[in-house]
Amino acid sequence: MKVAVLKGGRSLERGVSLRSAARVEDALERLGHEVLPLEADGELVKRLGEERPDVAFVAMHGRGGEDGTAQELLEILGIPFTGPGVAACGRCMDKVLAKHEMRSSGVPTPDWFAFNETAFRELGAADALGALEERLGFPLVVKPSRGGSALGVKFAASWFEVPEALVSAFSYDERVLLERHVEGRELAVSVLGGEPLPVVEAIPEGGDRYDFEARYEIGRTSFVCPAELGEAETAAVTEVALGAYEALGCSGFSRVDLILGEGGPQVLEVNAIPGLTDTSLLPQAAEAAGMSFEQLVERILQLALPVATQG
């Protein structure tokens, strides 16, 4: 098959995308496919039109590639593509929207408030921040609504740290959320074609926050897969993860990040196109399930094709 690998783009996660794409390209070559690496730039649509690949492997993260933009173009061009469709990407990318969807579907997610920058600049929303302490308590987590990885995510231990954290989060998006901080184990459930893979637990070393650095750097965070969970815990975590995957309309593959606290699992976010780098969690989960990286890539590819042609 002729497989276009879409990568790069202008997103802040460009570097991660290039690393994901490099691995995917290698795997596709070993699988015997004709690989067409495509940088997501001004020539993308033209190249896709000229080359007419059988399928596009979307190895992009963040804006442009994970938010439905690239998927929309691929739909217009009639090229099948890997991962979730336009609507699911849009829902996953926007954490506030995703949380609303999850809550209305009964998927547990920590309490939150969302604010637009305009609300602070023009509507005096700062006066509403007083309610935070009562409603969410401290510490709380401040996040850009649409942001990849952990860029711009800050913890506010007290009221005094909130404005600074908001300024950081607003650097990435005009909408931010303030979320109740849930103490617990950090888990990720990758879902492949509707089936959950073994749960991965991320254990930050030296008490580091699970930040952008750690997330992509070997040695800064250790990962355990399958996570050491009891049978009931595993079932509860998996059920919640699948609920989130379905609530957001994902297909193909995605990764659900959760916290397992005292009150059971709660979903933090769903990554429509999780990383496929050497330190990424989806490939680790697949390996724990007995799949090689090639098998994972091949399966993702099959899921992208129309049902009639799926082998």
Partner: protein, 452 residues
């Protein structure tokens, strides 16, 4: 120094790299990197005005000179220029180094000089020669961002001493040394960039130079003087290098051709006392046997016609105009709460914003405006520097500098206004702007969480 150009493919065969994770040496865990490198990858887009790099302007080096020199080398010394050379470097290269050092008042014994692959290798060899895991290395705060990974990779415990407008605060250094005495620890060396420091742009005062050298002699403590920019002075009076003040007993000197000729030739040097040099030579043998023979021939040819000082003079004129353009733009476009250094030479301005602005997050915003800088954290080992930034003025022309600073000023103004809206604090009005002279004092941050 700056990031090498981004490779199109991170790995040609990345097959299951995580399987190698268990093989990595412990020191790789303390190598810093990654998120910033990913962000910096974006700065390579052609439309981005990058004030982030540390690149000298090589565009005015005459191509005819380059061609003529290389032709002469090919015609007259091809076999030799293509061969290995001595580990210490050629005598002729050392002669050129002696000329450069003499221009700053230093007269090293040629026996004490080793040619290295850039100044960076000199720093690496010094650390390799002197540092065991856990040893203390002292440097400035902020320090050269490229030194941080070197110290980290040899697992040094790096202690940073605050700088102000006169460079490293020697009082604080003395207090730190006394504290270390109490713990029975002796630092392996003190690393300093006394002239137009990277990143802060400040120059160590004569009084502090003298005190530092005295301290080194009294304590028999090594000082590493890294001086890439000393000859690129466009204002004020030259000050004697630490090496000259000390005479070379306790000061190890690091120099480079990168900023006065070309970083592409990858040639620097080190001057060290003979017992240290002996070990350094062994270290260099293990690292790369010798530095490039070909580019040493290039340097030899270049110095033969005696016009190297003219070229430096032309660089000084270019950089002075660019520094002026940057400082002027900062006055126009940065908010009253911001401060910055006004260097008398070198390549960098260091700007500090209000405490509530995190320059890593600001960079994400700035990149949307197609402009880049280096966030201050890169110059610290301990997470400080979050509201500072390094701005390079040597590798962009005046118009680009003005436009770049305007764009950064715009995103800062948005942050300041937002913070004001969040806290009810009224941002200072332009009439309350401090005078430019007031900006001479560096408001370098103290340790996180306040307190000294």
């Amino acid at each position: 120094m700056s990031e090498p150009p981004h490779r199109r493919r991170a790995h040609t065969r990345t097959r299951d790299l995580e399987r190698y994770a268990g093989l990595f040496a412990a020191r790789t865990k303390v190598m810093r990197s990654s998120a910033m490198r990913d962000l910096m990858a974006i700065t390579a887009r052609p439309e981005v005005i990058s004030l982030a790099g540390g690149l000298p302007d090589t565009s005015t080096f005459p191509p005819q000179t380059f061609a003529a020199q290389m032709t002469r080398i090919a015609q007259e010394s091809a076999a030799e220029a293509l061969q290995y050379g001595p580990t210490e470097g050629f005598e002729e290269t050392v002669d050129c180094i002696a000329q450069v050092m003499a221009a700053e008042g230093m007269l090293p014994d040629p026996e004490d000089v080793i040619v290295t692959t850039g100044g960076q290798q000199a720093i690496d060899l010094i650390a390799k020669t002197l540092v065991d895991p856990g040893d203390v290395v002292i440097c400035e705060a902020p320090t050269y961002p490229g030194a941080v990974p070197v110290f980290c990779s040899y697992q040094a415990e790096t202690i940073q001493i605050e700088c102000d407008a006169e460079g490293m605060r020697i009082e604080e250094l003395e207090a730190t040394l006394e504290r270390l005495d109490g713990e029975g620890r002796r630092p392996k060396f003190v690393y300093s960039v006394p002239n137009f420091q990277n990143p802060a742009g400040v120059t160590m005062s004569l009084a502090r130079r003298q005190r530092l050298v005295e301290l080194a002699r009294r304590r028999e403590m090594l000082v590493v003087e890294d001086n890439p920019y000393g000859l690129l002075r466009f204002g004020g009076e030259p000050l004697p290098p630490l090496y000259q003040l000390d005479g070379g007993d306790f000061v190890i000197y690091v120099g480079t051709f990168s900023k006065i000729l070309s970083p592409g030739i990858r040639l620097g040097w080190m001057v060290a006392p003979p017992p240290v040099m002996e070990k350094v030579v062994l270290g260099k043998q293990a690292s790369d046997l010798c530095s490039s023979t070909l580019t040493q021939f290039f340097v030899r040819e270049y110095f033969a016609d005696g016009r190297w000082r003219e070229y430096i003079a032309s660089l000084i004129e270019i950089y002075r105009a660019r520094r002026d353009a940057m400082v002027e733009a900062l006055r126009t476009h940065f908010p009253p709460e911001a401060t910055w250094t006004e260097p008398e030479g070198g390549l960098f301005v260091w700007a500090t914003l209000p405490d509530y602005i995190d320059t890593e997050d600001l960079l994400a915003k700035a990149l949307r405006e197609d402009v880049a800088f280096v966030p201050g954290r890169a110059a610290y080992v301990d997470g400080r520097g979050h509201s500072s930034m390094r701005l390079n003025f040597s590798n962009a022309d005046g118009d680009e500098i003005r436009e770049g600073i305007r764009r950064i000023g715009k995103v800062i103004a948005e942050q300041v206004e937002l913070y004001g809206a969040l806290t009810g604090e009224r941002p200072p009005q332009p009439s309350e702007r401090r005078t430019a002279e007031g900006a001479n004092v560096l408001p370098f941050r103290k340790t996180a969480g306040g307190g000294e």
